[in-house]
């Protein structure tokens, strides 16, 4: 590993270059990513207001400090400084009064943009956001589901969010929106995006091991593109020609979206048991019971995975109750069967 100061300096220069890009709309500014929503300029306005006040006061204080440290420095043999008043009410009122007035504006503009961001307009397009450790799922009004977020540009979009396990938080820096997702209730936020493009959605409430990987891509598209996408997404099991998937293909697709992280199809144990060759075999559980891997067992495993925990594995799987339609469950069954027994 190399830690030489030189490479750091190089990094600093490079960072500054990245930070001040030539085209601010594409790359953002020194302090911010692009402004891609109606909220962003409002939020940034307050930021810069406070920023310049802060810059002014910091400069003032530091300059005064350095000036006085030099001007009034101790001189050998001269112990005391000059006479000066020990307090000054007018002065003290000034330097508590001016900040006070300045903070009123900080408070007010901040309050305005907060209320703007916190009050979804009535007839927004509604997307449901389901957060769980450690992925996102978005559900659109027509039943379409996706793991990446697509939005029509210049539209009010309301997010109705819920969590399956712990706290998460929904943050899209380009939109300046953030809202925690609290288990046991729906929380809401909304955006009106103004700039087509691709952005990142982060989870910003610490939620355990892979918190830092709980991200999703956000695509802001024009209305037509979005409409096409969401229509296709509503029935994801159609191929290019509009022909429906076979059940096995349906299962394979779901596997690739939901299950692959924990179940392998090559016989190796990951977080959970491998699916390869498991269908129809006798499963042994932590408590010593055994049971045949059949349709009923599969459904129970999906809905209530904690009920019977396979020997040698942690009870790490969360319930998928209400996530899949019957046809999808049939697809999964067909897929697992297809992996041999």
């Amino acid at each position: 590993m190399n830690l030489p100061i030189l490479s750091t300096l190089a990094n600093l220069v490079q960072a500054a270059q990245v930070a001040v890009p030539s085209d601010p709309t594409a790359e953002g500014t020194f302090w911010f990513p692009v402004q891609a929503s109606t909220l962003a300029p409002k939020s940034d306005w307050t930021f810069y207001y406070i920023y310049w006040i802060s810059a002014f006061f910091t400069a003032l204080i530091v300059a005064a400090m350095i000036f006085m440290a030099i001007r009034y420095r101790y001189r050998k043999g001269v112990w005391d400084g000059e006479e000066s008043p020990g307090h000054g009410l007018a002065l003290e009122l000034t330097w508590s009064g001016i900040p006070f007035l300045l903070t009123i504006a900080m408070w007010y503009t901040g309050f305005k943009s907060y209320m703007y961001g916190d009050t979804p307009p009535p007839n927004g397009y509604e997307i449901q956001v389901k957060a769980r450790q450690w992925n996102w799922e978005f559900i659109y009004p027509n039943g379409a589901k996706s793991t990446e977020l697509h939005l029509p540009v210049e539209q009010d979009v309301t997010f109705v969010m819920s969590s399956a396990d712990v706290l998460h938080s929904f943050w899209i820096p380009a939109f300046r929106v953030k809202k925690d997702i609290v288990p046991g209730r729906y929380t809401k936020t909304w955006v009106h995006s103004t700039l087509e493009g691709q952005y990142t959605l982060f989870c910003t409430e610490y939620c355990g091991k892979d918190h830092s990987q709980m991200m999703a891509q956000v695509f802001v598209e024009d209305q037509a593109t979005f409409d096409g996408w969401v229509a296709k997404q509503a029935n994801p099991y159609l191929d290019e020609d509009g022909q429906p998937f076979t059940p096995v293909a349906i299962g394979e697709k779901i596997y690739g979206q939901h299950c692959f992280a924990c179940h392998s199809i090559d016989g190796s144990a990951v977080v959970g048991p491998s699916w390869k060759g498991s269908w129809g075999t006798e499963r042994t559980f932590e408590n010593g019971d055994t049971r045949l891997f059949d349709e009923n067992y599969f459904k129970e495993s999906l809905l209530d995975p904690g009920a019977q925990v396979v020997k040698g594995f942690p009870p790490a799987m969360t319930s998928y109750r209400g996530v899949f339609k019957d046809s999808e469950i049939d697809g999964l069954i067909a897929y697992i069967k297809s992996l041999g027994n």
Binding site: S162, G184, R185, Y186, T187, G322
Partner: protein, 117 residues
């Protein structure tokens, strides 16, 4: 024992009068009986307030007479009353906020019930 006769008249305590102590004791018992008695009737929403009012009166009696707040130093009173104010502040704001967002929790519960069906 140290009978410091050399400092006559110097006394730290103000022994409470027995009459007062017995009186307060009686009042506390009577109030307990009262609160139990009152609880047998239903005053609707006022129930809780009545019970809390009686409890507060009892607590005040204990604090003022048994705990000698009636002739204690000012700071001691200030700190004790302050603690109640701060506890009140904590509860008032936390619960005030909670009551504002309670509806969200109920909505969620209702929605969850619908989904289960």
């Amino acid at each position: 024992m140290h009978h410091s006769e050399e400092k006559p008249g110097y006394d730290l305590g103000h022994p409470a009068s027995m009459k007062m102590l017995v009186g307060v004791f009686g009042a506390l018992l009577a109030l307990t009986a009262l609160t139990v008695g009152v609880a047998q009737f239903n005053f609707g929403a006022a129930d809780l307030s009545i019970a809390m009012l009686i409890a507060t009166v009892k607590a005040t009696l204990v604090a003022v007479f048994f705990m000698h707040l009636n002739h204690d130093k000012g700071v001691n009173r200030l700190f004790f009353i302050g603690s109640i104010l701060f506890a009140g502040l904590f509860m008032a704001i936390a619960l005030g906020d909670a009551s504002e967002y309670q509806q969200d929790l109920r909505d969620f519960e209702a929605a969850q019930e619908l989904l289960q069906k």
